[in-house]
Structure formats: structure tokens, C-alpha cells
């Protein structure tokens, strides 16, 4: 090709001839399109498995729908009105706050302590680290049954131990007091969650500058001061993530509580998830159960949003 056939040279950039590919946005647009294509299977799966059922639950919350009535009746926001004025549902909110708060705090403290311990160098550390994962591997219902036996009033380990030590005269029914039942479900949750929290903390501790800690010791800092002034500030991002994950996990928990106490005694451990189950499958009121479920999701959204924002910022 010669320069004679090329025509006049454009003076503005917009006047330069562009290929069809470039007209459709160039490489960036292609990448965007491929990105969307890659995202499509996950988005479709999300829509089918999560979005559609949630939309259906949202719709059901606007209906009077008992399992016997094959045709539900539209009642607008009446279910929500009933939920918000129902002392039992408010009680479940309170129980959920206690359960989630105590189990997250307990796991945080014990998980961190265990991680600090397993961060030290000693013989058999690898084995103990591996064994620590056991509660996380065991299915949650199995965990619940193990703890149900530990707390059992007739054959339980705790009663056996206390009777042997003559600390009690007759076996105690731990799961039959509101406090005992709540303690049992919290302990079970803590036991199951420690491995996950520990793994996060342990990963965070690998990156702590040991020279900095040694320098602090030379300056006379004690163990607690090192933990407070050096280790914890370093673990702050991990702390935030595990707290948010702990809260989300606690809010979602159902199987452990239902298998261990069934939400009882009376209503002592009836958290929101148990309340939804009771309304739907014991009282056959699907509309009300959906309304509580929608509010339950609403309580999950702030920590989930916070967690996602943290991830995106990183």
C-alpha cells in the first residue's frame, strides 16, 4: 500500500478509522463481556437457589397460608403487624441476641487463646492443630447429640463427674433450666466454632513481626502488654472478619439448638430460626413463618453487608 491511496490524515482522534472490534468497546469491553459470561453460571445458580426462594418467602409473608389451606389468602402486611406485636417473637429476638452475642464472644476469646497457644513451638503441635479441627469436621447435629449426652441428667458426663467429686448429691437436669439450656447451646456453638476462629487467628499470627515482639520484651513488656499493644492491633482486620462471620453463623444456626433443646425448656432457647421452624412445621402457619423469616434475614443483612464491604475494600 502506498501513502497516495491512504487519503488525508485525520486531525482529530475521533476521525481515525476504527475496526468493528474497537467500535464495540475494544479490549476492555471484551473483557467485561467475558467477565459477565463467567459470572453467569454463578448468577443463575444464585437466582435459582437463593433469590427465587427468598422472593417466594417474601410473597408468602403477605398471605394467610396455613399448610392445610391449599389456597393462600392475600392479607397484605398483617403478618408483619402480628409479628411485631407478638411478645413471643420479640422474646425470640432477645434470645437470639443473647445466643449470638455470648457464643461469638466466647469463641473469640477461646479461639484466640487456643491460637496463641498453638502458635508456640512445641512437640506434637502439628497433631494438636489437626485434632483441633475435629469439632469443625463433625456434623453439627452429631455435635449437638454429643453435648446432649454430656449434659444428660441421668447418664451425663457432667453429673457423673460432679457426683463422683461429691459436689452434688442428686443428678441435676441442666437442660431443664433456662440458664442451663442456654449455656449448653452456647457451649456447643463455641466448641464447634473454635477451630474456624483459631485457623483465622493462627494465619494472622504467622505475619506478626517476631523482632518487634522481642524488642518489646527487651523493653520490659509483659505477656499481657505484648498481647494488648502488639498482637491484637496486628490482628485487628482478622478480628473484624471473624466477629462478623461469627455473628452471621450464629444468626443462621438452627440444627444445633433444635437437636439439643428443641428451643426449650418452655421457650428459653427459641432463637429466630427455631421460631420460624415452629411456626411453619409445628403450627402450620407458613405465612407467619415467612414474615419472621423475612425479619430474620433483615437482621442478617447488616453484618453481611459489613463483611462484604470489608472484602471489597481489600
Amino acid at each position: 500500500m502506498s501513502s497516495d491511496t491512504a487519503g488525508p490524515v485525520p486531525t482529530r482522534i475521533e476521525d481515525y478509522p476504527v475496526s468493528r472490534h474497537a467500535r464495540r468497546g475494544g479490549l476492555q469491553a471484551v473483557q467485561r463481556r467475558i467477565g459477565l459470561l463467567m459470572l453467569a453460571p454463578a448468577a443463575i445458580a444464585f437466582a435459582v437457589v437463593i433469590l427465587y426462594p427468598f422472593g417466594q418467602a417474601l410473597a408468602l409473608s403477605l398471605f394467610e397460608d396455613t399448610l392445610q389451606s391449599i389456597t393462600p389468602t392475600f392479607i397484605g402486611l398483617r403478618n408483619f403487624e402480628q409479628v411485631l406485636t407478638d411478645p413471643e417473637v420479640w422474646g425470640s429476638f432477645g434470645t437470639t441476641v443473647i445466643y449470638v452475642g455470648c457464643s461469638t464472644l466466647g469463641t473469640l476469646v477461646l479461639g484466640l487463646g487456643w491460637a496463641l497457644l498453638l502458635n508456640q513451638k512445641f512437640r506434637g503441635r502439628g497433631v494438636i492443630r489437626a485434632l483441633t479441627l475435629m469439632p469443625w469436621v463433625v456434623p453439627s447435629t452429631v455435635s449437638a447429640f454429643i453435648w446432649a449426652w454430656i449434659f444428660n441428667s441421668r447418664f451425663g458426663l457432667i453429673n457423673g463427674l460432679l457426683l463422683e467429686l461429691h459436689l452434688i448429691q442428686v443428678p441435676q437436669a441442666w437442660l431443664s433450666t433456662p440458664e442451663g439450656a442456654m449455656l449448653a447451646v452456647i457451649l456447643t456453638r463455641v466448641w464447634r466454632s473454635i477451630p474456624l476462629f483459631m485457623a483465622f487467628f493462627l494465619a494472622g499470627l504467622q505475619n506478626v513481626d517476631t523482632e518487634q515482639l522481642d524488642a518489646a520484651r527487651v523493653d520490659g513488656a509483659g505477656n499481657f502488654a505484648i498481647l494488648r499493644d502488639h498482637v491484637l492491633p496486628h490482628l485487628r482486620p482478622v478480628l473484624i472478619v471473624v466477629v462478623v462471620l461469627g455473628v452471621i453463623g450464629g444468626l443462621q444456626d438452627f440444627d444445633t439448638i433444635y437437636a439439643l433443646t428443641g428451643g426449650g425448656p418452655v421457650r428459653a432457647t427459641a432463637v429466630l430460626s427455631v421460631e420460624v421452624y415452629r411456626k411453619a412445621f409445628e403450627q402450620w402457619d407458613v405465612g407467619m413463618a415467612s414474615a419472621i423469616g423475612v425479619l430474620w434475614v433483615a437482621t442478617l443483612l447488616p453484618p453481611a453487608f459489613f463483611y462484604l464491604r470489608l472484602l471489597v475494600r481489600r
Binding site: Q68, S153, S176, P265, E282
Partner: protein, 425 residues
């Protein structure tokens, strides 16, 4: 292309096989007996007998007793209901409005059914003049004693009144170490309902009358619950016991009394590990009453069979109707109920020597002459009513409320629930 064709062919074959498997059985039968290890072989025998007689196949669908109501209702909502279902008699009113339920009168004729089934058993399957269920086996929920434990405590006569009952319980507590004298159901809401209701009747109280009016807030109810609270304080009953726990405790001679259906014998044989040798220890007895001379009352109990129509209108030739007819045949009725230690539903099977000469079944019938209908389980809002009743009973037993307050609260909450469900108070 060749590979693609091959793959498509394989996929099609797999899909055809899947559809074939799904349509393989002529009848699907959902029931809780098939979920119980002790009853599963008996159910298999029923199915084998039907197949050998008719050449038709049955697909058994196991569902735990506590989950069957939920599973069935969910299947009906998703239009995947089974053809035949085994249900508890107390669930029938809540299932009565399900679409496609067969009225057996229109298939077999009311007169014919009356000739085959015992009248009181047949009556348990009737709702608003329709025969929506047929009895597979029947009986009542009454009290059972473990004679070995009674002997250990030096008790030679069965208690007739609540005072005698309490005296015996104290003797057992003091003489049989680590025992629960009376294994009352204190956990699992549906178990608490049956036990509390029995004691309500023993004290002459009622929970809901025949017109749907809540009448539980009475002096008699307060006395009944007060009696149970007293038993708990005296460590004569224990917390954390459901029906399965009670069966185990009595089977292992760690409890003397509990309430159960006549199937009790089958459970106790199994849990004792002694099989039929344990029968000498199993004693059906009358539920003690508050006042001497008062008639003891138990609670009606039955396993019923409902069916969903396979053709419209359903006919005797439908596979599921043939199966229902088979369930009422002597071959089944003299086998399954007897193996489950319960009375058959048909007249001819009851007259059969296998049943008539069974000393346990005779003793059961003799001690439970006045069974009353479950007053709570029959209402459409029975789930909520059961939860309310169990929560209030538990609260009183665990010392969170006085018996009087619990009964007053139970009455108020139940009334509210009944009004919500459309039953005027």
C-alpha cells in the same frame, strides 16, 4: 459428532430409566411403621403378601412419626402425594380438607364397611359423614407398669387412686436406686400433651369441650397440674424425658410406670433386650383416678389409613383401593396389629384366636374401657394448641410458674388461638 450422539443417547437412556424407576410401583405407601426398626419387617410382610396376591407392587415411603404430618402436607402442596398413607387418628381432622382424599363409602359402600370393621374403630375414621380413613389397628393410650420394679419396691397391688399412686412412687424412689418412678413425658410437646391430658381426665377436668370452647381454666385442671408439680418436687417424675426415653427406662427396669399405646409390649420387648421373656413384667393397668369409684379414662388411639384418588371417581379396581382392601384382609389384620401388640380394626380378626387368646391384649382392653377422644389434637390449630399446653405445663413443672398461673395462662392463650382459628369462645 459421533461422541455427542453417544452422550445424548446415554443421557436419554438414563432419563428413561429414571422415569421407569419412578413409575415402577403401582402404589406408594407412606407410613411411620416402616420407619420403626421393630415394625419394618411386619410392613415388608404386608407388601409381599399384596404383591403375591395381586401381582401389583408397592413402594413403601418411611417417615418418622413426628415428621409424617409435615411431610404429607408438603407433598400435597407440591402435588406429589403418596397413594396411601398411614396416619394417627388425631391427625385426621386436620387432613380432612386435603384435595383428592378418598371417601371410602363411595368406593366400598358404608354398609359393607360396617360389616367388616369394628364400629368404634370405624368411627375414628369418620369426618362430617364421610369415611375418610379406615382403621389398621386401634386401642387406647393407657398406663403400663413394670412388674419387676414394683416387686423390688414391695408393691403387690396396682394403685387405683392418685393418692395410692403417689405412695407407690415414693416407695419405688426409696427402694429402687437411680430410678424414675413414673416416666412421665416432660419434653417433646406432643408427648406432654398426651400425658397431661390423661391426668386432666383422671382429675375430672377437660381442656376443650366438643363445641371447641376452651374449658381448661378450672379448679380440677389446677389440681391435676398441682399434682404433677408435686410429683416433680418429690423427684417421682423427672425432667428431660420424652416417650422414647420412657420406653427405654421402663424396658431397662429403671422406671415403674409410663403412658403408651398398646404397642408398648413391642417396644419394651425390644428395649429390654429380652424379647418375649420380658412379657411377664409388662402389666397394663387402669390410669389412677383422683377419687375412689371414679371411672378411669384413657385416650383413643389408632393407626388409620387414608388414600388419595388414583382415578376420578375412585373405584375398587384402582391399585391403591385394592391395597386398602388388602390392609383390611384377615391375612394382614391377624398379623400386623398382633405383631405390633395392638387390636386389629376388623371384626373377624378380633374374633380370631390369635387375637382373642392374647392375654396382653385382653388385659389392655379390660383396663381401658373408657377411651376419650384427644381433645386438642382434633382441631385445625392443634399444633399451636399443643405448643401452648406443653409450654405452660413445662413452666409449672420446672418451677417457673405456679400450677394455678400456668393453667390460667394456658386457658387465655388457647382461647386466643381458637378465636384466631375461627372457633368462637
Amino acid at each position: 459428532m459421533k461422541h455427542v450422539k453417544g452422550l445424548m443417547g446415554t443421557a436419554l437412556a438414563v432419563a428413561m430409566l429414571g422415569i421407569g424407576a419412578a413409575q415402577a410401583a403401582d402404589v406408594s405407601w407412606m407410613g411411620y411403621s416402616y420407619a420403626e426398626e421393630s415394625a419394618k419387617p411386619s410392613v415388608d410382610k404386608i407388601i409381599a403378601g399384596f404383591t403375591s396376591k395381586t401381582g401389583k407392587t408397592v413402594e413403601p415411603i418411611a417417615s418418622a412419626f413426628g415428621d409424617l404430618q409435615k411431610n404429607l402436607l408438603l407433598r400435597v402442596r407440591s402435588h406429589t402425594q403418596p397413594d396411601v398413607v398411614q396416619i394417627s387418628e388425631r391427625w385426621l381432622p386436620s387432613f380432612a380438607s386435603l384435595p383428592g382424599l378418598v371417601d371410602y363409602n363411595t368406593v366400598f359402600g358404608a354398609d359393607n364397611l360396617a360389616k367388616i370393621y369394628a364400629p368404634e374403630a370405624l368411627a375414628m375414621g369418620q369426618v362430617d359423614g364421610k369415611q375418610l380413613a379406615l382403621p389398621l389397628m386401634s386401642g387406647s393410650i393407657g398406663m403400663v407398669a413394670n412388674n419387676a420394679v414394683l416387686q423390688q419396691a414391695g408393691i403387690t397391688e396396682m394403685p387405683k387412686t392418685t393418692d395410692e399412686f403417689k405412695k407407690d412412687l415414693i416407695a419405688i424412689r426409696d427402694k429402687v436406686p437411680n430410678s424414675v418412678p413414673y416416666a412421665m413425658a416432660t419434653k417433646n410437646n406432643s408427648d406432654i400433651l398426651v400425658d397431661f391430658q390423661t391426668w386432666e381426665y383422671a382429675f375430672g377436668a377437660d381442656i376443650i369441650d366438643a363445641n371447641g370452647k376452651v374449658v381448661v381454666d378450672s379448679d380440677a385442671s389446677k389440681k391435676a397440674l398441682g399434682f404433677l408439680v408435686d410429683l416433680m418436687k418429690e423427684r417421682l417424675i423427672a425432667p428431660e424425658i420424652g416417650r422414647p426415653d420412657a420406653r427405654r427406662l421402663v424396658g431397662q427396669s429403671a422406671a415403674a410406670f409410663y403412658l403408651d399405646a398398646p404397642q408398648s409390649r413391642t417396644f419394651l420387648r425390644s428395649f429390654s433386650g429380652k424379647g418375649k421373656d420380658f412379657d411377664v413384667n409388662i402389666k397394663p393397668m387402669q390410669v389412677p383416678v383422683a377419687n375412689a369409684g371414679q371411672e378411669p379414662t384413657s385416650i383413643q388411639w389408632a393407626h388409620l389409613i387414608i388414600a388419595f384418588q388414583q382415578s376420578n371417581p375412585p373405584t375398587k379396581d384402582d391399585a391403591n383401593m385394592q391395597f386398602v382392601a388388602w390392609l383390611g384382609d384377615d391375612a394382614v389384620e391377624t398379623q400386623f396389629p398382633v405383631e405390633q401388640s395392638a387390636l386389629p380394626g376388623t371384626i373377624s380378626a378380633r374374633a380370631n384366636p390369635i387375637v382373642a387368646d392374647d392375654a396382653y391384649l385382653s388385659a389392655w382392653a379390660k383396663n381401658n374401657t373408657n377411651p376419650k377422644r384427644n381433645e386438642v389434637g382434633i382441631w385445625s390449630n392443634s399444633g399451636e394448641l399443643t405448643d401452648i399446653l406443653a409450654e405452660e405445663v413445662q413452666a409449672a413443672l420446672l418451677g417457673q410458674k405456679s400450677a394455678d398461673d400456668a393453667i390460667t395462662s394456658m386457658g387465655a392463650r388457647m382461647k386466643e388461638s381458637m378465636i384466631k382459628a375461627g372457633h368462637a369462645q
